[in-house]
């Protein structure tokens, strides 16, 4: 038998959240955590969680598994059963709607804020805009983000300032457009991130990299943004000091 401890909260009936323990026979073959949840949901139809693709590409079922964020559908239970127990909690730092379902409004608001769409001033050609394979390669490791929020909700800076710190997921996308040879708003994009909070609240503790279910590296992207911002600032300082002389 294994004990699955699930964070429960229904706003209509519960004043406070609590943990409910479900004891279940350990499945004979290794299954994904989402499948285990589906089995539990047949016993208790009131357990609430999001799910869709069940193959790690839609980003619905991000949750906190034994203290670490991940996607239930691509986490084999063999990897997370510790002392015959699994602890499931909602993604940390966001308001809980019910059980394992969090309110992702703030997360999406940061995504919207970085203008996550290609901007190009020129009139598009009748065919595609050309891009060299080398330039296209620069988008690898960036565009694959599935917006599951595992990274941003594992980031203490995002917990503290979810309204002002853009967070690793949206910063990865900010850099995806900065790095795109077809985008002509690079300087505006950088300017929008140059305040003390948007990007500089990242202190490089790498929680985002540790949890990303798609093996992406927001920390690297954030580092790139910071270094462009700093080198631009240096250039500006030189121009200003030149002018003063």
């Amino acid at each position: 038998m294994i004990d699955v401890n699930i964070y429960r909260y229904n706003p209509e009936t519960d004043k406070f959240p609590y943990t409910q323990t479900y004891s279940i026979k350990k499945p004979e073959k290794d299954i994904m955590l989402l499948e285990l949840l589906n089995i539990l949901k047949e016993q208790d139809t009131s357990i609430s969680y999001r799910r869709s693709c069940r193959e790690g590409v839609c980003g619905s079922d991000g949750m906190n598994i034994n203290g670490k964020n991940g996607l239930a559908c691509i986490t084999p239970i063999s990897e997370v059963i510790k002392n015959n127990k699994i602890e499931l909690r909602p993604l940390p730092g966001l308001p809980v709607i019910r059980d394992l379902v969090v309110d992702m409004t703030e997360f999406y608001a940061q995504y919207d804020k970085i203008k996550p769409f290609l901007q190009n001033d020129s009139v598009p050609p009748t065919e595609e805009r050309l891009q060299t394979p080398g330039d296209r390669d620069k988008l690898d490791g960036l565009y694959e983000c599935i917006l599951c929020a595992c990274c941003s909700t594992s980031c203490p800076s995002f917990w503290w300032n979810p309204d002002k710190f853009v967070g690793p997921a949206a910063l990865l996308q900010a850099y995806r457009f900065i790095a795109d040879s077809r985008d002509t708003k690079t300087s505006e994009r950088l300017e929008a991130l140059s305040d003390p909070f948007s990007v500089y609240r990242c202190h490089g503790i790498m929680n985002c990299v540790n949890v990303c279910p798609k093996d992406l590296n927001p920390n690297h992207a954030i580092g790139e943004i910071k270094s462009i911002l700093l080198s631009n600032k240096k250039k500006q300082d030189i121009i200003i000091s030149d002018g003063a002389n």
């Binding site: 229904n10 706003p11 209509e12 009936t13 949901k41 047949e42 139809t45 009131s46 609430s48 969680y49 999001r50 799910r51 869709s52 693709c53 069940r54 193959e55 790690g56 590409v57 839609c58 980003g59 619905s60 691509i74 709607i97 019910r98 059980d99 379902v101 309110d103 992702m104 999406y108 919207d112 203008k115 996550p116 769409f117 290609l118 190009n120 598009p124 009748t126 065919e127 595609e128 805009r129 050309l130 891009q131 060299t132 394979p133 330039d135 296209r136 988008l139 565009y143 694959e144 599935i146 917006l147 457009f177 795109d180 077809r182 985008d183």
Partner: protein, 594 residues
């Protein structure tokens, strides 16, 4: 709990309502966002969780990147042949000729396509593709973003909807259509999944962009959310569905898990082998081999298994061999497949073959529409447009896929017809098109189903009935079909209908009650399953994906037509296929070989 009626729920008014936030819905909404019309996308999941995200290999279109002489007419020929001649040639012509514009638009929106050395969009070979009307050998016509084209497309569309300020009702579930006394569609009853609030979403135009329903089968590549909600609603409202017997079984679903392995694997040079290590497709399709039509490959695989040449302990699957392509190609062109295979098959394709089996993948049938997305019904054997109702994407049957869809044509279908519906709705609403109001009684009628479910104090378990339904469909309506078996299947469904009408909703709470959503989804699945079963039983021939042991041949004399399922009579009638393209000569039916 509270019984809902027209006076205790809110009404929200729109010019256009799009049900579904996948590729087709978001392409429609993008067109409408620019129009100034009051529009909303109603999606039961946050839009980027829609199933379009799982599309892998690409979007097929004659953009003449791989071959500068490529021609949309060749793509049209392939599509007509692939459909086994019951795709509508006016619609296929529209899709193939408008396609390049739609693909270039996606690129301009930022879709990160893979590139060729000259900087153009990368195209890979896919099944059923040819040059020069089948005479010039294999074509490479599928535009790709590695093997994550659906993800790239869906995110790009969502991003551009943000840019244009589209209005989203995310995590709202549409329950039933509201019809006025003239049988015009005036909107839907829906509820917020988050709060449970029920509302009448009133609209001059209601677009069903609700995708497929692969979850009628127990083994499917489809997401858990693919429950045919739009089709369920329209069937309950008495509107017909077309070609519902035509379900595509994708040759390569991961054995056991069902996850899709793109045809692009075979496009890049992978091939299928049986237990003897033989590349068996050489026997079944000497020319196209592993890149024959999907229906052909899927049937060949099943025959190999039935004849005892299946792989593994139970000899119940075959292998997809990729290791000869080398790590560099696999990592660059098929990184997502490597990831999925490691996760769900425990196999690294760089070293070992992937165990695969034909798996339910795509619904060629759906709501019959014209190229503007307007839904049809029939009255006295003649087509009649349903005022206020539109359908696009997999939910619709326009029909560009006929009896078998070619790989890469579904993403093209989404963007071409999503855009077309958006353009048409703008035009028609600006020139005074629209629908009359529904009465309180009409609204209350659309609330009946939800009220009944909410009032249930006993009845059948959702999960159990769903399993039962899926196993009936899997056992009796799979890759190969037979009249006597299907008759049993149809009878079994009659028993299940009683359970579907008497589901027990144990959890009556309002906030994020997924039990309620799953019960309503199951009711939609059932409507789709029943239409599938009756249409499959009635079509007494083999064509495209519909393969019958008791009627092995294609029967053009009697069945070169669409089937139209009437949900009220539970009967099948025939509807003409369009053989009148505007710019090219008709492609006449021929024997279909690869």
């Amino acid at each position: 709990m509270e019984i809902y009626n027209s006076s205790n729920i809110k009404t929200f008014e729109f010019d256009a309502l799009i049900i579904g936030g996948g590729g087709s819905g978001m392409r429609t909404s993008l067109e409408l966002a620019k129009s100034g019309l009051k529009t909303a996308v109603v999606s039961k999941v946050f839009p980027t969780r829609s199933h379009t995200v799982s599309a892998q290999g690409g979007i097929t279109c004659a953009i003449a990147s791989d071959d500068p002489n490529d021609d949309w007419r060749w793509h049209m020929y392939d599509t007509v042949k692939g459909s086994d001649y019951i795709g509508d040639q006016d619609a296929i012509e529209y899709m193939c000729s408008e396609g390049p514009k739609a693909v270039f638009e996606l690129e301009h929106m930022g879709l990160p396509f893979s590139r060729t050395e000259s900087g153009r969009i990368y195209q890979r070979p896919f099944g059923g593709q040819s040059k020069d009307f089948g005479k010039g050998g294999q074509a490479a016509r599928t535009c790709a973003a590695a093997d994550r084209t659906g993800h790239a497309l869906l995110h790009t569309l969502y991003q551009n909807n943000i840019k244009e300020g589209s209005n989203f009702l995310n995590e709202w579930f549409a329950v039933d259509l509201v019809l006025n006394q003239s049988k015009e569609v005036t909107g839907v009853i829906a509820f917020s999944i988050e709060s449970g609030e029920v509302a009448y979403l009133k609209s001059q135009a209601t677009v069903m962009a609700t995708g497929g329903a692969g979850r009628i089968y127990s083994s499917t590549t489809n997401a858990l959310i693919n429950t045919g909600d739009g089709l369920g609603m329209s069937l309950r409202a008495g509107f017909p569905a077309q070609d519902m017997e035509m379900w595509q079984f994708h040759p390569t679903g991961i054995y056991g898990a069902g996850s899709l392995v793109t045809e692009g694997c075979r496009g890049e040079g992978g091939y299928l082998i049986n237990a003897d290590g033989e590349r068996f497709m050489e026997r079944y399709a000497p020319n196209a081999k592993d890149l024959a039509g999907r229906d052909v490959v899927a049937r060949s695989m099943v025959l190999e298994i039935l004849e005892g040449r299946g792989c593994g302990e139970n000899k119940d699957h075959v292998f997809l061999k990729l290791d000869h392509l080398g790590a560099d190609v696999l990592n660059a062109k098929l990184p997502g497949i490597c990831e999925l295979s490691r996760t769900f098959a425990g196999v690294d394709p760089i070293y070992n073959p992937i165990p695969v089996v034909p798996t339910c993948h795509y619904m060629m049938g759906g709501t019959p529409t014209n190229i503007h997305g307007q839904a049809y019904t029939q009255s006295n054997g003649a087509d009649e447009i349903v005022s206020g109702l539109f359908s696009v994407g997999e939910a619709a049957c326009v029909s560009v896929h006929g009896a078998n869809r070619l790989g890469g044509n579904s993403l093209l279908d989404l963007v071409v017809f999503g855009r077309a519906a958006g353009l048409h709705i703008q035009e028609s609403l600006k020139t005074g098109g629209g629908v009359s109001d529904a009465s309180s009684d009409d609204i209350n009628k659309a609330l009946d189903g939800l009220n009944k479910l909410n009032a249930s104090t006993e009845g059948y378990e959702v999960a159990e009935v769903k399993r039962e339904l899926q196993s009936v469909m899997q056992n009796y309506f799979g890759v190969f079909r037979r009249g006597d078996f299907m008759e049993k299947g149809v009878a079994a469904l009659q028993d299940i209908r009683e359970k579907i009408s008497n589901l027990h909703l144990k959890d009556k709470s309002l906030a994020f009650n997924t039990n309620r959503v799953e019960a309503l989804e199951l009711q939609n699945l059932f409507e789709v399953a029943e239409a599938t079963a009756i249409a499959s039983f009635e079509r007494t021939e083999s064509r495209g994906a519909h393969a019958r042991d008791d009627y092995k041949e294609r029967d053009d004399e009697n069945w070169l037509c669409h089937s139209l399922y009437d949900p009220i009579q539970k009967a099948l009638s025939k509807r003409d296929v369009n053989f009148e393209p505007a710019q090219v000569e008709t492609f006449e039916p021929k024997v279909r070989t690869y």
